[in-house]
């Protein structure tokens, strides 16, 4: 996107908790939707069901979190390949790691997921930061490659997962999310986080201050890839098999969650709390509408309308009225 850097110059509050104003609408929506859901379906929200509940929401939340670093890195940073990457991890883990190679233990599976995620994250980072292809185009290419590879390996849903794995969508469903959360938390305590936010909001200034913008951006995609790998684990745990089509749906949902949660698509603003709340909003919306047994078409219109309303109201909240890219 073209020069809005001037307007972003006033963003001195990088170090605050991620834009409270930005998650205002999303936070409000979250409370409303949570109340609605609890009212409609109280059993689901009882403590003993929390595991399942988290297991249902985890793929979306982690997909949103996986999309966030690339967006934070700025200059049109975006990773649309998160969804297919999740699907690819799902396919490889179920059909190759477990079925073909017989490595059904948690260590093998987790290592595989993280390595695959990191590899493709690095590939995206290479294209976006080093070759300098526009991120949406680069990750679009990766999207197509991953979706194609996934469908080639797994033409139709197949396979099963061992019981410990299913547990990751039940009682232990918080673990993948926790891992992502801890990793990110640790990152925010390092100089990298400051560098990332600086690069995202004003990369020319960051560059002339001596920051290695290329490396910072590369790492952002790498980290996002690792998170996507872990998200793939949550997804696999949830569906219990390998499914070629399910990954793709997460891309647009993830980006919408992120935007809903106040993370600016121009970079340098917003954080994980916003992305999580945005993802929860979408999840709760889906489950409320599913309860009513409304057609998926109504869900679709509601989803589209809420997305536009959310970003519009967030923008109108901001007094400066600067362009929220």
């Amino acid at each position: 996107m073209t020069a809005t850097a001037a307007k972003m110059k006033g963003q001195a509050e990088r170090f605050r908790l991620p834009g409270i104003a930005g998650i205002g609408f999303a936070g409000l929506l979250f409370v409303v939707l949570l109340l609605v859901n609890v009212y409609l379906n109280p059993e689901r929200f009882l403590p003993h069901s929390w595991g399942t509940l988290i297991g249902l929401a985890a793929p979306l939340i982690s997909a949103a979190l996986a999309s966030t670093p690339a967006i934070l890195s700025g200059r049109g940073g975006l990773d649309v390949s998160i969804g297919p990457l999740m699907g690819f991890v799902n396919a490889i883990v179920v059909t190759i790691i477990i079925a073909k190679w017989g490595l059904a233990g948690p260590v093998a599976v987790w290592v595989a997921a993280i390595v695959i995620g990191a590899a493709f994250g690095a590939f995206n980072g290479f294209l976006a930061a080093i070759v300098r292809i526009q991120p949406i185009v680069a990750t679009l290419g990766t999207y197509l490659v991953l979706a194609g590879l996934t469908t080639t390996i797994v033409p139709s849903p197949t396979g099963t997962i061992p019981s410990w794995f299913s547990g990751l969508s039940g009682a232990w469903s918080f673990i993948p999310l926790l891992v992502i959360g801890l990793l990110w938390f640790a990152l925010t305590r390092t100089p990298y986080y400051t560098a990332l936010m600086a690069t995202g909001s004003e990369d020319r200034a960051a560059f002339t201050s001596g920051l290695n913008v290329t490396l910072i951006r590369f790492l952002a995609y790498l980290v996002g890839g690792v998170f996507a790998g872990i998200a793939g684990l949550s997804l696999t745990a949830l569906i219990g098999s390998a499914d070629p089509n399910i990954g793709e749906t997460y891309t647009l949902l993830a980006i919408s969650s992120v935007a809903l949660g106040g993370v600016s698509l121009a970079g340098g603003r917003g954080g994980f709390i916003g992305a999580t709340i945005g993802a929860l909003d979408i999840f709760l919306l889906q489950s409320a509408l599913i309860y009513f047994n409304v057609s998926t078409f109504i869900l679709q219109t509601a989803y589209g309308a809420i997305l536009v309303l959310a970003v519009a109201s967030t923008a109108m909240q901001k007094s400066s009225g600067g362009r929220d890219l």
Partner: protein, 321 residues
């Protein structure tokens, strides 16, 4: 060699043309029947349909935005046209209604994005999703109807127009290409579009109204998407809300492969024209070589990455200080 690469860097469209030509010869060499009129016709029709859907994407990208509602508008037009015509409405009236609705939706996209400073990626995504959901609700998920015979003839592979062995959509595509290129180069609107994409703050000082320009450009984008949707109805013979799904990424790919940068302010529709042809050639080649659809998809992604790495790279930050 070095100077040739330099020329390709400055005029990316030449690179795209070169690739289009190379691909064609590669196809001739490796696939039986690639040179047949049948293959040529089918490629031209598919390229035309993609090209028409990509007009809007080109304009929007020059402006500095992006339009993700195109696939949804294609589906919207496809289904609504089929439904209304199937119910007996006069087809000219059907087209008018679809066109007006598309213009309104597009204008809304652009105006909202510009007025509130929202990212068009999100706005067009949300509005597009809403529109498709609304249309599916209206048809209760089972759209029916088809297009009049002359539309089917206009795009059908067996069709011909006058003495030419191509269906009408092909020469129409060529004429449209020239018209769009001329429009961009030689009208005040076109010049203002480039200016606004090149430097939005400066554009305001030059009396360019961003809200009006964004509304008009996105409206045009939706209009061309709708045209593609109606033509696709003639092409496939029945209505299908997801018929536009491939166009989500393919329109962006056509624009970028044609040398127009996503940053805005530069590029041309001629590039997209070539880009649409290149993408269609790649698709046809891969299928002709026996790739499965999933493998075609993967290969397409790889090729896009490769092509854009060659001539679509952005300048290093140090050159932008």
């Amino acid at each position: 060699m070095g100077s040739m690469i330099a020329i390709l860097r400055r005029q990316p469209i030449l690179g795209a043309v070169l690739i289009a030509v190379l691909l064609y010869f590669f196809g001739l060499a490796s696939i039986d029947g690639f040179g047949s009129t049948f293959t040529l016709r089918s490629m031209l029709i598919l390229a035309a349909l993609l090209g028409i859907a990509s007009v809007g994407q080109t304009l929007v990208i020059i402006l500095g935005g992006i339009d993700l509602s195109i696939p949804f508008i294609v589906g919207f037009a496809n289904v609504v046209a089929a439904q209304l015509y199937g119910n007996g409405m006069n087809f000219a009236l059907v087209c008018l209604i679809v066109a007006v609705l598309a213009l309104a939706i597009g204008a809304f996209n652009g105006a909202l994005s510009a007025r509130l400073g929202l990212h068009p990626l999100i706005v067009t995504l949300g509005v597009g999703t809403f529109v498709q959901g609304a249309v599916l609700l209206w048809t209760a998920g089972f759209p029916s109807g088809s297009a009049p015979q002359y539309i089917s003839n206009f795009v059908s592979i067996g069709g011909s127009i006058g003495p030419l062995p191509f269906p009408g959509v092909v020469p129409a595509f060529l004429v449209m290409t020239l018209a769009v290129a001329f429009f961009l180069a030689r009208t005040p609107f076109g010049r203002r579009l480039y200016a606004l994409g090149s430097n939005p703050p400066a554009a305001r000082y030059a009396l360019i109204d961003p809200v009006w320009m964004w509304a008009a450009t996105f409206a045009l984008s939706a209009l061309f998407a709708a045209i593609a949707g109606v033509l696709l109805l003639g092409f496939t013979g029945s209505a299908y809300a997801d018929v536009g799904k491939p166009y989500l990424f393919q329109t962006i790919a056509a624009v970028v492969v044609g040398g127009t940068a996503l940053v805005g302010g530069r590029g041309s529709y001629l590039g997209t024209f070539v880009g649409a042809i290149v993408l269609t050639e790649i698709n046809t080649l891969l299928i002709g070589l026996g790739f499965q659809p999933s493998a075609v998809q993967a290969a397409l992604g790889a090729v896009i990455i490769l092509l854009v790495s060659l001539y679509g790279r952005e300048a290093h930050l140090r050159e932008q200080i």
